[in-house]
Symmetry: C2
Subunit: 231 residues, 2 copies
């Protein structure tokens, strides 16, 4: 499958490497791919520069946001939250219209007071992306776990934990649910309804970050436990 | 044990009934106990008026905030979020100092746009209560589940799900963890550190409400699933 990933950070690389390794045709988009490949910044999640990572993942092309969007039959938005709207704007409506856009980004900022949501309550970053690109089928997914767990849920609890998703298009959510199972082995994908559910799953990050801090590891998630029907 | 519960709504009643039924000496506090007992409002969670509920739970006394605070060796703050600071102010520092105060309240407001946090990011309602009463040992707990699950976690998943707590006083958290086990059978109480963890567990409510809406039942919680040590 042709997959376009917007973002070349730790999340984008982890997804690109896993999907390329499973035989998919992956292109990653960057604002400035030449500068990104020349950068000496070592990414925490992959412990290497982009060019160092690319040496081991040569099948993945590094291109512009627009080129990656043009390439993908399905698109994944894996930028930092403060870059999400600029990335999809650079890709442009023509390349996004009618495509499933899996939004993994989170509207977080950090200060010495800890993490804060920059969008919250009656709006979410996913809804902002959807409003900016009405023709795209935005599905919020994968933003509630760390990159290594996104692509390998079996890392904890034998894979018995929950990935919440939401979006306005039921067909798109069904496709994403199937892909998450086929690509990565996600078994418990929970549909939280329309895209306003992203207000919940983005706010959940404040809880997830605290779990990370309290347990000392980002390899942590939650499993939704339901009561018996009728209770 | 002498327990003071601030608040006579559905959460306060459910806690008071369960604790009284287990032999504890419970007093509930209200801003105006006579008016509360005269009210014809039917509470959704208990499906009765306060006086109707009290007829079946006569061992529980309904008193003022200050009287309930004076009564309790341990206190539980079970008001609506917008009444929390007024309730503890009415109780007063003298009656709160040195006591464990389990804060169950959530800073939520509702509009036709859905739920919103009224305190968030770099502050929490629990921290506001703690700042207002520096001598109290505030422990945030039980705010992440519905009242019936608070007092009976076995209602779902055989009780195998998580209750996050936080607070600045380690002894108070140890006591609360023990009480939650003895009173209600909570087995997986997870310490999220100091009281700033309430920023996470209060924001989690936006996620919990969406789980409630998506699953169609408030009998829902999450279990924290951790990776193997060292991963």
């Amino acid at each position: 499958m042709r997959i376009g990933i917007l973002g070349t950070g730790g999340v984008g690389r982890t997804l690109a490497g896993a999907l390329s390794g499973r035989g998919h045709d992956v292109e990653m988009g960057s604002r400035d791919p030449e500068a990104a490949l020349a950068s000496t910044d070592v990414n925490q999640q992959t412990d290497t520069t982009l060019s160092g990572w690319h040496d081991s993942n040569a099948a993945v092309r590094v291109a512009t946001f627009a080129e990656a969007a043009a390439h993908g039959e399905v698109l994944m938005l894996a930028t930092a939250g403060d870059g999400s709207l600029a990335a999809t704007a650079a890709a442009g409506d023509d390349l996004l219209d009618g495509k499933v856009l899996i939004d993994i980004s989170n509207p977080l900022s950090w200060s010495d007071q800890g993490p804060s949501l920059t969008v919250m309550n009656t709006d979410s970053l996913a809804e902002q992306v959807q409003r900016q690109h009405p023709g795209a089928h935005v599905v919020k997914a994968l933003n509630t776990v760390t990159a290594s767990v996104m692509v390998d849920p079996s890392m904890l609890g034998g894979g018995d934990h929950t990935l919440p998703i939401c979006g306005n298009d039921d067909d798109a959510k069904r496709q994403v649910t199937r892909w998450l199972g086929e690509w990565f082995g996600w078994r418990d994908v929970l549909d939280l309804g329309d895209l306003s559910g992203a207000r919940a799953t983005e706010a959940y990050l404040l809880f997830w970050i605290r779990l990370y801090q309290a347990t000392g590891s980002p390899i942590v998630n939650t499993k939704v436990v339901r009561g018996r029907p009728g209770r």
